[in-house]
């Protein structure tokens, strides 16, 4: 039995490597043009993570058929989930994805299915919400990523399910910022156009003299992580401008904004980095106590000594590179994932 799983993981590794090569040479169709550099690095990381799974002493026992509601614009969840489904013995999975992301996922599943055959049958499609909710009832387990409206549906499901709500990530710059650190901050912020729950949206900074250096860093990284094809700069512009009265300074770049403020502003604008200049850790702790429920990750240049709900605490530049045993939420691991 264990040998079967190990063989399956090897086949999956081959499949993923094949997909990666096709992606690198532009052979993967996609309606949304994602950030190629980021996606390639992440898939390489997920391939390395397969060693972690191979080293596990026990494999969990999962349901036979799983239905997954995927969020939009962040195409990495299947990569994070699939090895776990494989070791859990899942035989069939359906991913409900957003309308515009059909081509990418269709290409992915085609490659993976060609290697995995009947061991794990992967399907996916864009479905209207109500149809998806009905269809999901035919599966043994439902996994969802999304906002409050989807969460309400999950609460009403009588079949086993697990729901991961919308979250966001922050950074804490404790020391003096150098160029390299600021570029890593920019990387964390611009990854997936700040639309991912692991995208750094706010940076708390004790360094109040790095505005120009930060701007240069973001400008540089914005060329390495250009906007995804469906990014609408003017919508970020509207969001930023309509909150201007809370900012000390707004810097508009070619495809991003940096805003500086004394206090945290509730701002949801893609490709926008909010810098909150603080003078004590207490200010950050106050923020954490207020937004703890929605906190996904914390990146920092020093140790984080306070308690939080964040599922990842890491160095700058690494927020997207989740640990191999990471399952979307603090406290969830491969042993307890299927418990409801």
């Amino acid at each position: 039995m264990r040998e079967d799983v190990l063989l399956l993981l090897d086949r999956y590794r081959l499949a993923l490597s094949d997909f990666l090569e096709r992606l690198k040479v532009g052979k993967i169709k996609s309606d949304v043009q994602y950030q190629q550099n980021l996606l390639v690095s992440l898939i390489e990381h997920y391939i390395l993570c397969l060693d972690f799974y191979k080293r596990l002493e026990d494999f969990p026992s999962g349901p036979e058929k799983v239905f997954v509601f995927l969020p939009g614009n962040v195409p990495v969840i299947p990569f994070q989930l699939l090895p776990f489904l494989l070791i859990s013995g899942v035989k069939e999975v359906f991913f409900k994805y957003p309308r515009r992301e059909g081509s990418f996922y269709a290409s992915l599943f085609q490659v993976l299915n060609s290697y995995l055959g009947d061991s794990l049958k992967m399907e996916g499609g864009y479905l209207e919400h109500t149809i998806a909710f009905e269809r999901a009832k035919n599966y043994c387990f439902v996994i969802g990523f999304g906002g409050e409206s989807l969460q309400k549906v999950f609460e009403a499901y009588e079949i086993p399910s697990k729901f991961f709500g919308s979250k966001f990530s922050i950074g804490i710059l404790q020391g003096k910022a150098d160029k390299e650190v600021l570029e890593r901050v920019a990387w964390d912020n611009l990854a997936f156009d700040t639309k991912g729950c692991l995208s750094l949206r706010v940076l708390f900074s004790f360094d109040r003299h790095m505005r120009n250096e930060l701007w240069q860093a973001v400008e540089k990284v914005s060329k390495i992580l250009p906007p995804e094809s469906d990014f609408r700069f003017d919508e970020s512009e509207y969001e930023v401008y309509k909150n201007f009265q809370f900012f000390e300074e707004i810097k508009k770049g070619s495809n991003y904004f940096i805003v500086f403020s004394k206090n945290f502003v509730e701002l949801s604008a893609p490709r926008t980095l909010q810098i909150v200049e603080v003078s004590s850790i207490g200010e950050i702790e106050e923020f954490i106590s207020r937004y703890n429920l929605y906190l996904q990750g914390i990146a920092s240049d020093g140790p984080i000594l306070f308690q939080s709900n964040a599922s990842i605490i890491t160095d700058f530049g690494k927020l997207q590179f989740t640990p191999c045993n990471w399952y979307f939420e603090k406290g969830v691991n491969y042993k307890n994932f299927w418990e409801v």
Binding site: G147, C197, R201, D234
Partner: protein, 310 residues
């Protein structure tokens, strides 16, 4: 010459966008409206050199702040739920610009009489649209057929329509046009006179999202021999745009659309001299030369897993 007079003359006579005057207008608004001055300052704008370099001011602010560069005498209020309405302050000087712009923006239709389902300003005294109709009274005979923004008695409304003379212009809100067309279809009533019908947009007030052509197709089955036009305007903008550009809106030199290609509407309206001229509106538009089409209000897309603050 005073800036007011320069702008009034410009709205009345201009054929091209005057960047120099636009900069003078922004400087004036910056001096007179501290909130706007803050907006420019936070965005790093000190000296204005080009209009395309300044940030455009979200119309959202009219809901929360008093934006006025002079002594206000009264205000218009947009439709919407309480707390979500824009208040646009005015006085006799700003209304003078409104009037010049409204009359110049209105297409040169050969009509003598306007019939309006938009109520009289005497009844709807916070409505800038009703005020626009009042302005038209100076040039046309305006007959009001309805006394609210809703049509409460459809039977009476249809009876009133019978009074409408052929060759006239009929003003509806899009919601009124939809409702009365639906009613007439249900009753099997048709209206054969040749008319020009202008509906005033505002599709978001309809129960479901109507595409303009869909509305015209429905209304066209009732008003069989009428020509349909649409007006794009809002309380926060003193100039209006009409669909005289092969079905899409035509900009004016004094109300210039500065959006490039497709994007949110950025408009510079000289008639807004006493509020803010460079406005950012959360309507997606597509610009084709001097014409533009409105694709709709910004919708909440399928976002990533990032938490959205509301």
């Amino acid at each position: 010459m005073r800036l007011h007079d320069k702008v009034a003359r410009y709205i009345n006579e201009s054929t091209e966008f005057d960047e120099e005057l636009a900069i003078e207008v922004v400087e004036f608004q910056k001096r007179k409206i501290p909130f706007y001055a803050d907006f420019l300052r936070v965005n790093g704008i000190d000296k204005i050199r080009k209009i395309s370099e300044i940030p455009f001011f979200p119309v959202e602010f009219f809901k929360k702040y008093e934006i006025f560069a002079d002594e206000p005498e009264n205000y218009f209020e947009s439709s919407g739920t309480t707390g979500n309405r824009s208040r646009v302050f005015y006085n006799s000087r700003s209304l003078e610009l409104y009037k010049i712009s409204a009359l110049r923006s209105f297409p040169n239709f050969s009509i003598r009489r306007i019939y309006s389902f938009v109520p009289d300003f005497k009844v709807a005294n916070r409505s800038s649209l009703a005020y626009m109709l009042k302005i038209f009274e100076e040039k046309y005979e305006v007959v009001y057929l309805n006394d609210s923004y809703e049509i409460e008695n459809f039977e009476k409304a249809v009876r009133n329509l019978e009074k409408v003379e052929e060759g006239s212009l009929l003003f509806f809100t899009s919601s009124q046009l939809l409702r009365i067309s639906e009613y007439m279809i249900e009753k099997g009533v048709k209206f054969g006179k040749k008319l020009l019908i202008i509906e005033t947009g505002g599709y978001k007030a309809l129960k479901r999202r109507y595409i303009r052509n869909e509305l015209y197709s429905l209304a066209g089955s009732v008003f069989e021999n009428s020509e349909f036009y649409t007006e794009y305007g809002m309380t926060e903008l003193f100039s209006q745009f009409y669909s005289v550009c092969k079905g899409i809106y035509k900009e004016h030199p004094y109300a210039k659309v500065l959006t490039q290609g497709e994007g949110l509407l950025k408009v510079f309206d000289f008639a807004n001299l006493y509020t803010v001229s460079a406005l950012l509106v959360p309507d997606r538009v597509i610009v084709k030369g001097k014409c533009f089409d409105v694709l709709g209000r910004v919708q909440e897309d399928e976002r990533g897993c990032a938490f959205t603050f509301r």
